[in-house]
């Protein structure tokens, strides 16, 4: 029954008082932190497993939607040659004669986030062929923004012929299925 073991000085006395509290606190704290971290990780994994099929479905739906806006179904960004050939085919198909076609290199215009090819073209044709050609050019997958147009009646008899000058921007996105791994 020697109280001297506890009371050898103020520091020793407080050590005897505080050591058990600190030890218990340290054990509790460490276990609490470890448990919380593990529980959170497990919960995150469980949630992820529930969410992944939904995310996968959404990604597939968005990819399906974006495919409609991909000019080249093979996934490549169209080149000027491809665009030129497409415009030429399109005008020929509708009986519109193409007189001039000028491309500017792809560039991100102010206010845009994707590069666009500026195209200047001049063509001639009848009223109905011109309208049907313009309609085909404006299909949703062809992301064309018309910047300017000049339409002139160049001949009124025996048939009506219009000369058209168009200035537009062509936005072309590559297809969405990028190479590499895909979602489950």
């Amino acid at each position: 029954m020697d109280v001297g073991i506890f009371n050898r000085g103020r520091f020793i006395f407080w050590c005897w008082l505080l050591a058990p509290v600190l030890l218990i606190g340290a054990v509790q704290g460490a276990v609490f932190l470890y448990s919380r971290s593990t529980a959170e990780t497990l919960a995150h994994r469980r949630t992820s497993l529930q969410v992944i099929p939904e995310l996968r479905d959404k990604a597939a739906a968005v990819d399906g939607l974006l495919k409609h806006f991909a000019f080249d179904r093979n996934g490549a960004t169209p080149t000027v040659e491809v665009l030129s050939s497409w415009i030429n085919d399109c005008t020929q198909r509708h009986g519109v004669s193409l007189n001039l076609l000028v491309f500017q290199p792809p560039k991100v215009e102010p206010g845009d986030t994707v590069p666009a090819v500026k195209v200047e073209m001049e063509c001639e044709g009848g009223w109905v062929p011109l309208l049907s050609w313009l309609n085909e050019m404006r299909r949703p997958e062809n992301l064309l923004v018309l910047d300017g147009a000049v339409v002139r009646l160049t001949q009124s008899s025996p048939t009506v012929v219009y000369g058209v000058k168009l200035l537009f921007r062509f936005y072309a996105f590559p297809a969405v299925d990028s190479p590499g791994r895909t979602a489950p």
Partner: protein, 202 residues
């Protein structure tokens, strides 16, 4: 020679009875602390066992996931990849939506301008500037007492205003000038109009 002993720190020396009380208090405190530590250790052990189970379940989930979807790099990596992919797609969709908002349906506009007018009326010229949102055009119609010749510029504007589709695409429609001229050997009226494009059109 007289010898005196004076205790100068008498107030700092504990009396034997107080020393006894202090000793038993400290002993009781230490015993309680040991008990609390034991309970804490037991609880910690239980928690650690639970967490061990959780870790095993995580490993099982990962193995199951890897088996079902090989090559995904784990549950969390797969989720991260899908979320990143969706974000990229969302950005692309927004870009496309912005592009679609700026599109002008020229063919539709031309067709709608002529739709309410008699068939002999044609558009002779048209100038469109998207940056200014302006469009001006001329109508060519036979002068005289025919069906089209009886239409005044303001009547034509009213016909266009009555078309809800066209009204949604253009605004501030106004007649600019009226000219009479000979085209071939026929007298024709050339009516010039201007208007503003309504910004959002898909």
């Amino acid at each position: 020679m007289a010898h005196f002993e004076v205790n100068l720190i008498r107030h700092e020396i504990l009396s034997p009875s107080r020393r006894r009380v202090l000793f038993w208090c400290m002993l009781a405190y230490l015993l309680l602390s040991a008990l609390a530590l034991g309970i804490t250790a037991h609880h910690a052990g239980q928690q650690l066992l639970l967490m061990l189970g959780a870790r095993e379940e995580m490993a099982r989930l990962e193995t199951e996931f890897e088996h079902n979807y090989p090559g995904q790099g784990g549950v969390l990596a797969c989720r991260q990849m899908l979320e990143t992919r969706l974000q990229a797609r969302a950005a692309r969709l927004e870009a496309i939506a912005r592009i679609l908002d700026r599109r002008i349906g020229l063919a539709r506009l031309l067709a709608e301008l002529l739709a309410p007018l008699p068939p002999e009326v044609t558009i002779s010229d048209l100038d469109l500037d998207r940056s200014k949102g302006e469009i001006s055009f001329s109508l060519l119609l036979p002068a005289g007492n025919g069906r089209s010749g009886s239409l005044s510029p303001s009547q034509i504007i009213q016909l266009w205003k009555d078309d809800p589709g066209l009204a949604a695409r253009i605004r501030d429609l106004q007649a600019v000038s009226t000219q009479r001229r000979m085209v071939g050997n026929r007298p024709m009226l050339n009516l010039r109009y201007s208007c503003q494009l309504v910004a959002k059109e898909r």
